[in-house]
Symmetry: D2
């Protein structure tokens, strides 16, 4: 445990979850699952496992390969395991908020790994406090376990329905007890959650299918919105007892968050991103010497753009593969150093060229500015930027840590003002229709709130106050 405890501010993070039931190497497979899901959370990670009698746990700040050693994995005994990776942009992130969250109640151990954001959590917590509950963290998961405990006299199944029916917002959650693993997804289906089968016939549940590839599991199907999927020694048991709601898959998983080798909501992410590039080229085609990502977040859309427009693709900026997390501060005379230490534009290649850069999104617009400047310094003639999604103008309440108002550049600036701010010659965004077309699905399937402000479910009033960090 480390540093100051913020019981009040609600961090809203993306996360990744993975659980394995019925495999002698349950913890090790969960570890590899987290390895593949590391892009969903790099701040802390944890695994709990059980042999039916006792619980074993290891959680720590850091990346998955740093946290777990062969020895630590071997200590995580049993054939049921549950893991979590977590991300938070706040500096004060602490081990106290690392997941899975575990507690015991009358001999039952309950471990919870959660991806999403429950928008009425404050209200639920206050109700529990009035009944005498105490809280040691700010995690949604702690509130969920309290609710389960309060309903447990009716049996675990009923307690789950009772508890999860009260939750509003986004939750793709896995519960572990001494003898079962339960996957639950909110009725909107904001976040992904998939079921797979391992070589020995045992089951795995994970946020994305790329976790299955690594452990050689076969993808079976997505956990359905509103489904409670229970895995026991007897096999699978599925029911959909939660209140029905409008389907609202998070389209940002396709734009930016998921790994390109995953299939999300039934669609391959790589192909989807390439199509965004195709449609971008169709929506707005300009002449240029070449198209390039800067450095790689727009890779797949750039390929799509190049193929549709016929403008050649280049990789005109070289990444230093050995940049560590920290480096020594440069001397005062060295400008824009932080960009250059990681990314060096190829001077003799870029000089006097008209360049199109493809990016997946612009959130704050802070780093982009000095990147463009580093291109100007090597003599690029014109820089145009194409973004493979519409302007992100509204905060997300469902688990993606977008900044609020002022920091979200498209919330307060017009496209032309952003272009000016970044020092670009041209700036073009994909349309909402173009984005949806790239997925091959109906617009109805998705939550598009970050582009449109049209929220499927609103947070309770206290939610906003909390975000300001008051006690």
């Amino acid at each position: 445990m480390n540093n100051c405890k913020r019981l009040a501010r609600r961090p809203r993070e993306e996360c990744g979850v993975c659980g394995v039931f019925g495999h002698p190497d349950a913890a090790k497979l969960t570890y590899f699952g987290l390895y593949a899901l590391q892009h969903r959370g790099q701040e802390s990670a944890g695994i709990v496992s059980t042999d039916g009698a006792r619980l074993y746990e290891h959680k720590s700040m850091g990346l998955v390969p740093e946290i777990f050693t062969e020895e630590k994995i071997q200590n995580l005994k049993g054939d049921i395991a549950l893991g979590h990776v977590r991300y938070s942009t706040t500096g004060a992130s602490t081990i106290t908020n690392a997941q899975p969250f575990t507690a015991s109640h009358q001999g039952l151990y309950l471990s919870v790994a959660h991806n999403g954001n429950i928008v009425n959590i404050r209200e639920l917590r206050e109700r529990l406090e009035k009944k005498g509950a105490i809280f040691q963290s700010t995690m949604d998961s702690e509130v969920v376990v309290h609710l389960l405990a309060h309903n447990l006299s009716k049996g675990l199944d009923k307690a789950i329905v009772e508890t999860f029916s009260q939750l509003e917002g986004a939750f793709s959650m896995i519960l572990m007890t001494q003898d079962r693993l339960i996957a639950i997804r909110d009725s909107h289906g904001f976040r992904p959650l998939c079921l797979g089968k391992l070589n020995n016939g045992s089951y795995i549940v994970a946020s994305e299918t790329c976790a299955f590839d690594l452990v050689e599991a076969q993808y079976i199907r997505d956990v359905k919105p509103g489904e409670v999927l229970t895995i026991t020694r007897e096999g699978l048991d599925s029911s959909c007892p939660l209140p029905k709601k409008k389907q609202s898959f998070c389209i940002f998983e396709h734009v930016y968050f998921a790994r390109p080798d995953s299939d999300i909501f039934g669609v391959n992410v790589y192909s989807c991103r390439k199509k965004m590039g195709n449609i971008l080229a169709r929506e707005c085609s300009i002449d240029a010497d070449f198209v390039m990502p800067f450095p790689d977040s727009g890779n797949y859309a750039a390929i799509g753009y190049s193929q549709a427009s016929g403008i050649p693709l280049e990789m005109g900026v070289i990444r230093n593969h050995y940049v560590g997390r920290t480096f020594i501060q440069p001397t005062q005379s060295m400008r824009d150093f932080t960009v250059r230490v990681k990314l060096n534009p190829v001077r003799s290649f870029l000089k006097d060229k008209k360049v199109i850069i493809i990016e997946d999104s612009i959130i704050r617009g802070t780093t982009g500015r000095s990147r463009i400047k580093s291109l100007r310094e090597v003599g690029v003639k014109e820089v145009h930027m194409f973004i493979s999604c519409p302007p992100t103008r509204f905060p997300c309440y469902y688990g993606i840590d977008f900044p609020t108002g002022a920091e979200l550049i498209a919330a307060s600036k017009s496209v032309d003002e952003i272009r000016e701010h970044l020092g670009l010659d041209g700036l073009y965004y994909l349309s909402v229709e173009g984005l949806v077309e790239a997925t091959g699905c109906d617009a109805d399937s998705f939550c598009l709130a970050c582009f449109t402000g049209d929220y499927p479910v609103l947070p309770d009033k206290k939610f906003h106050k909390l975000a300001l960090g008051g006690l």
Copy 2:
């Protein structure tokens, strides 16, 4: 957090506590207090502090000087701080059980640092679980905070009386909230707890007076058995609302546990241990070449024995000051290595001598055996051992981690059998009367249960079952 979670086994440890109220360097002074109290717990340590608005916390496994850096102390802001050092003999000790324990309830933060052992904790915990409570650790402190939360609607003062009146056993506890520090000692007064005043007029509470010496605080008085002592901006407020019980100071604090430069229960420990040596010599005097400690736990009693008997004191065994916590395993041919690497008998000095060794106690009798052997190997003629307390034959339920039955050598062996087991020529224990006489107090003042089996308060029945480690 680390390793497996044992929610069931109850570790029964000694601990040290220290709190400071009203000093701009509250966390730093608490750190020095813990430094002086390190002998009471070397497994984990923690400090929480508050500036009235927020809580700051750092806990970790390890020794105080390893855990806290200048930077970490500076992050512990505010003028109220609470610290804890913890010891556990079990291998599975984890950060989950590190103290102070902190939780929030309806805007109130409650941090608790506890020294002692509450014997009806299981019963209290079960009662809480029936009301829906969930538990994340096996600490007494977590149960105490739950009880406080359940009674908090009546106000904190009443909640304290209500809560602590239910607790049976030993507790010298300090509570911290956003605006106060509260010291509470059980009505038996098993464990010490003292009040001191710092140079700037602010207050400090600590397990032993040696903590006051280090931070230049003046000792004021002991917190009384059954007292609730509240320190706020308005000053001290004392009351004794807990049910009256028979005074039962732990005499083992004088025998072994407390630092010799502390005054415990009003008596200086150094003087008290010397008197034990004096009385030992009076109770049983034999002829010998010299008296020596082996190596230093019997130092003060040895001085007392030497002065009373006229037999010269020597330090015939040399300690290697550079022995680390771990060292490389010796080769097979090297016998009794573990003793010798730390302690080397001075061969040319000890040869053909008749030696009296003074020890403060024999618990398991495991290390003693090879020590005696190492003396025989350098040619000592006769070895007699004098113990400055009676045989410890019964487990402690009040916070000292004596082993149970079989491992406690005096529980199953007679004095002569122990002498034989250790390979001694003679073995002599101080009498209960002699021990009490050394303190200068009445026998009535003390808990002598580990010698006599006469327990001031018995644990609930489930306590015993728990000790066996069942789920």
Copy 3:
């Protein structure tokens, strides 16, 4: 210092060197230079600096950002600094062989950073030993400093000419004394070495121009083959006193070793690699669904191939950006895990496709095999591989750590056997003529010995024996 000392085996490594003269932040700029040159050596790094009176030094095993902290850089005082990064494929690499190598002789400090390999080093060393010299390492640099010391009575300049005229093979070397920095390049010019100018008018010498970009230095010119370039307070002094030899630039710097954003031997590496791809497509064009690198070493040649052939470029294999240096061993049932944990082929994208993979070279052919297998497992129909250089069939004696005979796959196997070994449907290499054409220079300029066996200078006979590791 660490582990066993191998005074006999000669490790033949690539390295990077960087020196700064006359800048108040000399050590810091050298640090950034090494940062940019990290790809030339990841095993150990070191910097020495001087303020004219004393020498400051820090060397360690590891990567540049791990080894140097702000504090360590600040301890490296003075305005002259010299740095080195080193790579060795042998397990027994030790700090003893870390560079720069430093010694003192009659009040003169001599520090040497060396990139290359001196082929008559054993002969020179034996001659010195006969005169009474003792050796503490196996570094070429130690021998060079001994030679300098033996000739120093004639003055440093003469000693340099005398010493370096005796050396056969490859050396791009920087010498530092209390008051000067001297860059020396062998008359063949095997390895690159460039001169740049910093903002304040001071000088920098480095292996590649990418080091200049990072510290905002202007490239002036290459240090010429056979040149001794001395930098003092008075400025630059250049002479070419070493025996003239046939120019033999290492073409493998263009193929693989140098960073694409560097200009090497006057040619931009990115453009050169693209041209290799263009010419590959011209030399052998087949039909395919797409061209792809696997994962990125063939990036630039792949772009060139795609543009010349019209076959679209894709990035069908996703790299896990969070793979650490070590990871836990997979379970037995998980095949080809080591590849998959880093690189996941996009299953739904690759299925039933005919794919061209572009690689820069095949050395041992060990990892390639399981990569191809991982493509087969996701259902790729045909895999053809194009290599952007000819088969590497002969060892390098000039500083690149190619394996000898048996391990160099193209030394013992025909192209068709290699294709079979890797499990490919087709395998095609660039011709020697095509490779030279891509550089835009004469074939005469280059050492092509690894492809042709035509060595510009042969090692002495003992060199071979040494490579076998005898005492």
Copy 4:
């Protein structure tokens, strides 16, 4: 390697050496030998070993148990091993100067571990530099190996005689080659060096006999002054070829440096120190409440003083056993903190007492002052200090790092001025005659230069200049 390189300043340190010949666990036994000799040097340690073909080495900064792990010891193969512990009071101590020093010359490996100080080293080094030698450190050992290499054409035995006959000053040295271990002690015999026999009949050489106790070796005899003792597969070979000189055992080994469980120069150190206390009491007896060490460096003399005078011995100052190497700075208001955090005077015991403190020596007199002050603060009435050696008024040139002139308090202050400076009521030193009497030997046997200024051999003139740190 770490930090700045001081090629010029000559650190004059105490050290410990240990070598084992002919044991399958040679490196492990050497490790334990160094463990026992740790008090002779805590800055760096190293072990080299050989299996006849190759050399294995591990050296590092730090304490023996920190530097060596089971794995590192296992890597030190072979049945011959040589180890060294080193101490330096200078901050700039670096791994470059860690021993054993190793070099190769024409196929012969030479490793040297050295305790002592060669007073004509500068002259020897300059002579070698004129012949072309280069130096990488400031160690005496590097010069010795150069000299050996220059004489090696005549064979190793002759080279040893030739080399060591040129050395002036103190050297207790062990040499290791691929097939032998050679112990050499200067003709004055300044520093101890002993020969022992291990259980399996193999040999061990070490600075002190306490190393033998730990590995269960039998002490055979001291290596004689002027002896060259060679251990090979054929057994022991002894000769005394070095020029005869006046015997000058360092008496400070008995006063302070050696471990009390060692026999040094044939006399047990514990007994010798007790006798110093006996004679102190005879030379000057005053009345007091008790005698005490502060905290333990005067332990044995205090026992001797108490027994001879009849004044009771007490240990009135309690050491905190958990004080780490570093601790956080106290607040400004906390005076004399550095003493108090380690050593707490027992207030209630010391108040109003007249106390005699026994110390082994006063060198700088810096720490003593605040210790006395801490006694005054708890109310001690009178403090008298007895020193178990005469005033140390002259620097040591033979391997003990006494400060020079100004810092050596007895060099510039009278006994009364020192008493005043320390804030004592009385101060008394043992006489030179008394000190010699305590050893039971002739005054002629010892070097008493630090008390008398009567040096057995003077350093060359340049030695003094060097001590000033010029380049």
